[in-house]
């Protein structure tokens, strides 16, 4: 069973694509980071934290009348920034900053770790930074 519902997965995907956005190189979800996180959330027992945090992001976006995943990237960024700076209003079941820090840290882990972990398909991020494994 997946640790998150469909709505939460959609929010997760949008959020991690702001953590590592696409440029000449793919975004976090393009390289498999959502799948990486789903595995990690289950194995590390983080379902509750992630569910609460992702629902929290939607709570914030409702104030703008939209789901988090439907917002513009700029609007998504500003909500994430508010979390980072502890400026969101009450109503979250988890500390917004704690959740944001966890999300950012683990997305980066998936994107830059080995492809065996699932978040760096084809070792694309390694090619981007110039890390090359021979043998």
């Amino acid at each position: 069973m997946l640790p998150l519902n469909e709505d939460q997965i959609r929010t997760l995907t949008s959020a991690i694509d702001r953590i590592v956005p696409a440029d000449d190189y793919p975004s976090a979800s393009d390289l498999g980071c959502a799948d990486f996180l789903l595995v990690l959330i289950a194995s590390e027992g983080l379902s509750e934290t992630y569910r609460a945090g992702l629902d929290g992001l939607n709570l914030e976006s409702q104030k703008l009348g939209q789901k988090f995943s439907d917002l513009t990237p700029e609007a998504q960024d500003s909500i994430l920034s508010l979390c980072e700076k502890r400026r969101v209003a009450a109503g979250w079941a988890v500390s917004p900053r704690k959740f944001f820090t966890l999300l950012a840290r683990q997305t980066v882990e998936g994107y830059y770790a080995d492809s065996g972990n699932g978040g760096n398909r084809g070792e694309v991020s390694w090619r981007m930074v110039g890390f090359e494994v021979r043998g």
Partner: protein, 525 residues
Amino acid sequence: MKVDAIVVGSGAGGGIAACILAEAGKSVLLLERGRNLAHSDVPRDHLRNHRLAQYGHGTGPELDGNPRLLNGRRYRPNEGGYNNNASAVGGGTLVYGMQAWRFHPLDFRMASTYGIPEGSSLADWPISYEDLAPYYERAEWEIGVAGEEPAPQMPLRKKYPMPGVPRSKKAKTLELGCQKLGWTSQVTPLLLNSVPRGGREACTQCQHCVGFGCPPDAKNGTHNTVIPRALATGRCTLMAETFVKRLIKSKGGRVTGVVTVDNEGIETRHEAEVVVLAGGAIETARLMLNSKVGGDAVGRNLQGHYYAVAAGYMPEPIYDGLGPGVSISTLEFNHGNEGVIGGGMMSDDFITMPIMFAKSFRPSSVPMWGQAHKDWMKKYSRFMQVGGPIHEIPSSECRVGVSGSVRDKYGVPVASLSGTTHPETVKTTKFMFQRAKQWLEASGAEDILIREPGLHLSAGQHQAGTCRMGVDPRDSVVDLRCRVHGHDNLFVADSSVHVTNGGFNPVLTIMALAFRTGDGIVGAW
């Protein structure tokens, strides 16, 4: 069945002690709590290894059921506060970085050289560099070191059995930096097959050295050198996944054997003429304390290494993708530093994995997410770091105890660590941070990042000192032969016996001492 000798722990020291005893004709039981892993069993997982262990580390100790306490707080083996080293056949040598340093002659004479700072337990070793030199040579030849000439700060020695690893692009740049500063340098000696040796292949430069296994099996540890030699005698039995709970004592204080427990929880008594402890500095002290063996000095003087590391960026890409990645060192600052005690060796580092770069070297000016973070990651190929271990000034109040309440999955009281290093260690570390920065600057690096060191307990992968060697049983645990005071037939053959821990990575000294202790046991038998 009674054997001649039991060796507890199959790491750097234990593997060597077992080999010497078995080759001298003794029957040996080598007991190891960890698994017997081939290099290929240790996963090449960038999120689970001995440099980045937050989710696990690919060897033992298993994350559940083996806690330790640090200042009363509970830690799992993959958390920093645990102060872990790898548990497996080969111990730390299965996954180590292989740096193969002799301590400097003055590292054995710290108190005479610098005096004893108030509140510290700084002391001279009761043996000298010269006493250990022949055994260093054995370690270099029998385990297998690749390297070149020693730095001018060190005594002359026999050459190594293998040529040094080639200098990387980073090392060539750092060599120019040294020349600019008038500093001497040398190729970093490594316990690595730079050419095929001992029936095993040469290094393929795959970069996954420190914290990982070694797919071509070119990394030389005890698991692929002396332990196979011991087994080849037919007189040594290796029992992996077998934890030694306590020592058995007879009335007169003689240690007559050990009690083990296996994965199924089955307890067994083993008897022996001689028992050699080599579980690493924390676990050896724990075992002695739990067995009520040894005096008040057991567990004191716990030490490791502070590290002074500077990191920066070159104007052009400098990463060349060739492991191990460490190939230049300077011994310019091990001693003779104005106003501080001791110092340390500095080197370039093993290849920094991209995720380690992201986690350990992000300056505060770079956000932890977004396009700016991604742009910073693209500076990876221009990244360079230098640094090294600092000679710590020990404190007798920095120690291993055993918990009165917390037990491991076998019901044995866990190690409880407390205290800090001496403040002089912090002072020397600050001095060395400036030297590391200076080296990078002279080599052309920019935006150099260093950290402000604080006062804390230091043990970890370089843990040492908890069964200090000395003549007086009041402030030492073992005598000059590494025999426990008051126990004729009980020896210690791991990092526990170090009086001080040098300004270098410690393993070659642990190995040399184990050769010497093994010889001593055989000689007196």
